[in-house]
């Protein structure tokens, strides 16, 4: 970064801090008026230690926020100047707002992800124009002055944005298609005989929907996936050891063009819409490697 840019960035940060300090948004909700979070899992300290220090499937839980207060905080903090929300009463975004549109985002990410994106925008950098600045950092500014209550309210508001998305998250014809390349480094190679491209979706099934999901997959999901040219397999795994969605569905494609054709095909978006009706917030990964594979050199069987 050049000296001029550094001075500019430092000045902007100081100005932003000053503005936030002078005109700090106030929430009309008081903490006392909020519903307390539902009590969560109970276990003994011994059990906690046996499970590795956190409960199985643990992830950070925010206190419940107030959607209305979050909407006001969203406006007061100037978020609409960068983020459009379909149907929002007050949006300062122009025709081409620099940040991602947030309509429908509540369907696609868990609350903790929103919190992290606000508190630490550099934690996950999305490849694609508009997300990463020339300095390699997120273009989203940090808001260190936010109170925990404001954060909870903002997250509640973002999580409530479950409608009006102009585009399915699986509608890949226009998806930003940059592929981040990571050095293999110390990662063991897989032993797949032929290179593949993988599209992975991790999720949890909505409560009470397992049987309906299985029936849909058998009748419609599996045959439709396997009818896609270049899609060679669809597999679903359960991993109960990690936080977040325990199920992972992996689509293996013959090559890059087959993957891109699939992501761009409007029929795929229809298929995913049916799939997603059974599952909660989820993320996707595109990769050259299967998300899970066995490494013989680091494995063993009694007969080996």
């Amino acid at each position: 970064m050049r000296t001029g840019e550094r001075v500019f960035a430092a000045a902007i940060v100081l100005v932003a801090i000053g503005l936030l300090t002078e005109n700090r948004p106030t929430s009309t909700s008081s903490a006392a008026a909020r519903d307390r979070a539902q009590p969560g899992v109970r276990l003994t300290m011994d059990q906690l230690h046996q499970q590795g220090g956190v409960p199985l499937g643990w992830q950070m839980t925010l206190p419940p926020g107030d959607v209305g207060a979050g909407r006001r905080a969203f406006i007061d903090l100037g978020c609409p100047s960068c983020h459009a929300v379909a149907g929002a009463e007050s949006s300062g975004a122009g025709a081409n707002p620099p940040g991602p549109e947030l309509s429908g985002m509540g369907k696609h990410h868990p609350a903790a992800y929103f919190a992290e994106a606000i508190l630490n925008p550099d934690a996950v950098l999305i490849e694609g124009p508009g997300y990463i600045g020339a300095d390699g950092h997120s273009t989203m500014p940090a808001y260190p002055e936010l109170t925990a209550l404001q954060l909870a309210d903002l997250v509640a508001y973002l999580a409530s944005l479950d409608r009006g998305s102009p585009q399915s998250c699986h509608d890949g014809a226009t998806a930003a298609s940059a592929l981040t390349r990571l050095e293999r480094g110390d990662r063991p190679r897989d032993e797949a005989p032929v290179p593949r491209r993988y599209f992975t979706q991790s999720f949890d099934i909505l409560p009470g929907q397992l049987d309906a999901f299985a029936a849909w997959f058998a009748a419609r999901g599996r045959p439709q996936f396997l009818a896609v040219p270049g899609l060679e397999s669809v597999d679903t795994f359960v991993d109960a050891t990690r936080p977040g969605g325990a199920l992972t569905t992996v689509l293996a494609f013959r090559d890059e063009v087959a993957l891109r054709n699939f992501l761009g095909d409007p029929a795929s978006a229809d298929l995913w819409r049916e799939f997603d009706a059974f599952v909660g917030p989820h993320g996707h990964v595109l990769s050259d490697l299967p998300p899970v594979y066995r490494v013989p050199g680091l494995s063993g069987r009694r007969e080996d």
Binding site: R2, G4, E5, V7, F8, A11, L14, V15, G18, L19, E22, P100, E101, G104, H108, H109, Y113, A117, V124, I126, E127, G128, P129, G130, Y131, S165, Q167, S168, C169, H170, G172, A173, T174, A175, A176, S177, A178, L179, T180, R181, L182, R184, P195, P229, E256, V257, R260, N261, G264, D265, P266, A267, S268, G283, H284, V285, L286, S287, D288, L289
Partner: protein, 261 residues
């Protein structure tokens, strides 16, 4: 406090304008997409039909046919990739991962989705749309054939092409025979091509912040039936084979004009 803010703002503005003077930033420039057919295709029209002979000796007559060119997009260069013949080696040495979260719903600003319906009995040139992406480097072109929606361009009046990617009505004549055997294809299946070399084998490299670019996707309709043995191909797979052959013979031409002259 306000004095401090004013002073800092002034400082920021000075820094900004001094930076702007010293290094003019790259600016968005237009990308124009065009759909074209091989010159031989335009000469293969006989009356109101398209007539060709495939590499198996079958003479094929298309009496009515439409294709939905769904989308076209430039694909970003992989980050940090050396633009050389070593790129394929590099591809084998690294893994690619894209975390699709916010990004998955983010439109590729270099994409157009014309949903252009093209007549196969009158193949011609179509302006498929324009994009104005921010400065970015692109190394591939993706062309996708997929089903049309109701808002598709140039929907024909004589046939419902909504939800169809390809429709062909015509006939074939077996080598050594004079009997025309009618056939009809109608499918919603998608297929596409991803090209990293333009016609003439030059690697694709488009820096949209520096040049105005025209991307022409050229298809070869006369070769769409190559490899197809009509006498043995099951009718259900015929549409798949024609689509595959079409995308196998796609070429792309990229013309960039330096925006700075």
């Amino acid at each position: 406090m306000r004095r401090t803010l004013l002073a800092l703002t002034a400082l920021a503005l000075v820094a900004f304008f001094s930076r702007a003077r010293s290094a003019p930033p790259a600016a968005p420039h237009e990308i124009r997409y065009r759909l074209a057919w091989d010159a031989a295709d335009e000469q293969a029209v006989e009356g109101s039909s398209f007539v060709t002979t495939n590499d198996r000796g079958y003479r094929i007559r298309i009496a009515r046919g439409y294709l939905t060119s769904y989308s076209m997009e430039l694909v970003e260069c992989p980050q940090g990739e050396a633009l050389s013949a070593a790129s394929e080696f590099l591809w084998s040495a690294v893994e690619g991962t894209a975390y699709a979260g916010h990004g998955a719903g983010t439109p590729n600003p270099a994409a157009v989705r014309p949903m252009q319906i093209e007549s196969l009995t009158a193949p011609g040139l179509h302006e498929a749309g324009k994009a104005l992406p921010p400065p970015q480097s692109y190394c591939q072109v993706h062309y996708l054939i997929a089903r049309a929606a109701a808002e598709a361009r140039d929907l024909p009046g004589d046939l419902d092409m909504v939800d169809a990617s390809l429709h062909i009505e015509g006939s074939y004549t077996t080598p050594g025979s004079s009997t025309e055997v009618p056939f009809t294809l109608h499918t919603a299946i998608a297929n596409g091509a991803l090209l990293d070399h333009a016609t003439g084998q030059a690697p694709i490299r488009v820096d949209t912040g520096r040049a105005v670019t025209t991307v022409t996707v050229r298809r070869h309709l006369a070769r769409a039936f190559d490899g197809i043995d009509f006498a043995t191909v099951p009718p259900k797979t015929l549409a798949n084979l024609v689509l595959q052959s079409l995308v196998d013979h796609v070429e792309v031409e990229v013309e960039s004009v330096d925006a700075n002259g």
